[in-house]
């Protein structure tokens, strides 16, 4: 399970990817680097989010001041905003900066 406080102490974090919803961009089993101290996000960014106490990886498709919509790149195998709707910006953990 995801411990928010232990993750935010450092600007960068490496995560191991499980699942196929971001393929072919990010393959299952690969490792990625995220920037947790980033302040500005934009449409198209691949982000790590806290969703029901799990870290999920998706791409931002829409965002405003308080809410974001996220989709997987592999739309045929992705649980995302098409199912669970918008999520709060506060659930953002960081932006993927290295695949």
């Amino acid at each position: 399970m995801y411990n928010y406080y232990s993750m935010k102490q450092f600007p960068f974090k490496i995560l191991r990817v499980a699942g196929h919803s971001m393929e072919p961009t990010i393959k299952a089993g690969s490792y990625i680097l995220i920037n947790q101290w980033i302040k500005k996000y934009k449409t198209g960014d691949i982000v790590a989010c806290n969703f029901e106490n799990y870290i999920i990886l998706k791409r931002i498709v829409q965002l405003n001041d308080s809410m974001i919509q996220i989709h997987g790149d592999n739309l045929s195998d992705s649980l995302d905003s098409r199912t669970f709707g918008e999520i709060s910006r506060s659930s953002l953990i960081g932006k993927v900066i290295r695949l």
Binding site: K13, G19, I55, L57, D77
Partner: protein
């Protein structure tokens, strides 16, 4: 792999990096064998299209080469879809006690993998039909494990073979 990627991967392995879920190991509980059945139907259809191509293009012109390459690629992709969908349901959905209730399951899954591989390697229509038959049986077991009855219907598109659907 780029050097930066190698470094990230090495550090990630050494530090036992947290896991980020890109679906479907969330777990979300969404399982459905239908995609496997469509994959098996597609393999049969591609075998038929390939056979038609061979017959209709005796000189193997550029049109033949192009269409053949695409049909083979689609057959390859969908045979893998069958294997993948069955693998996910078998590995993530069927718990040991459920698998014990269906003793044929392990052998059934293994035969699907074998037939799926052969479907990639050959244009053997009977093999593709056997793959669909096994995938249908897998679907029946899956839905039965959820207490849902099934029916067999003829797909309303070529190759017009039977597939198992849940009665919802």
């Amino acid at each position: 792999m780029k050097i930066s990627q190698k470094i990230i991967t090495t550090i990630g392995k050494l530090t036992h990096a947290h896991t980020a879920y890109a679906h479907c190991d969330l777990p979300c509980g969404i399982y459905d064998p239908h995609r496997a059945l469509i994959g098996a139907l597609t393999v049969i259809r591609m075998d038929d299209i390939i056979a038609e191509l061979i017959t209709s293009h005796p000189t193997q012109d550029p049109e033949f080469s192009h269409t053949m390459a695409r049909a083979v690629s689609i057959k390859e992709e969908h045979a893998e879809i069958v294997k993948h969908e069955v693998r996910v349901i078998w590995g993530d959905y069927f718990k040991s006690e459920m698998a014990a209730k269906y003793p044929e399951l392990t052998e059934l899954v293994h035969s699907i993998f074998t037939l799926g591989s052969k479907a990639k390697q050959t244009i053997d229509r009977q093999n593709a039909l056997d793959l669909l038959a096994k995938a249908n049986r897998f679907a029946e077991i899956f839905w039965e494990s959820k207490g849902i009855t099934t029916k067999r219907v003829k797909a309303p598109y070529k190759p017009e073979e039977e597939i198992v659907l849940p009665v919802l």
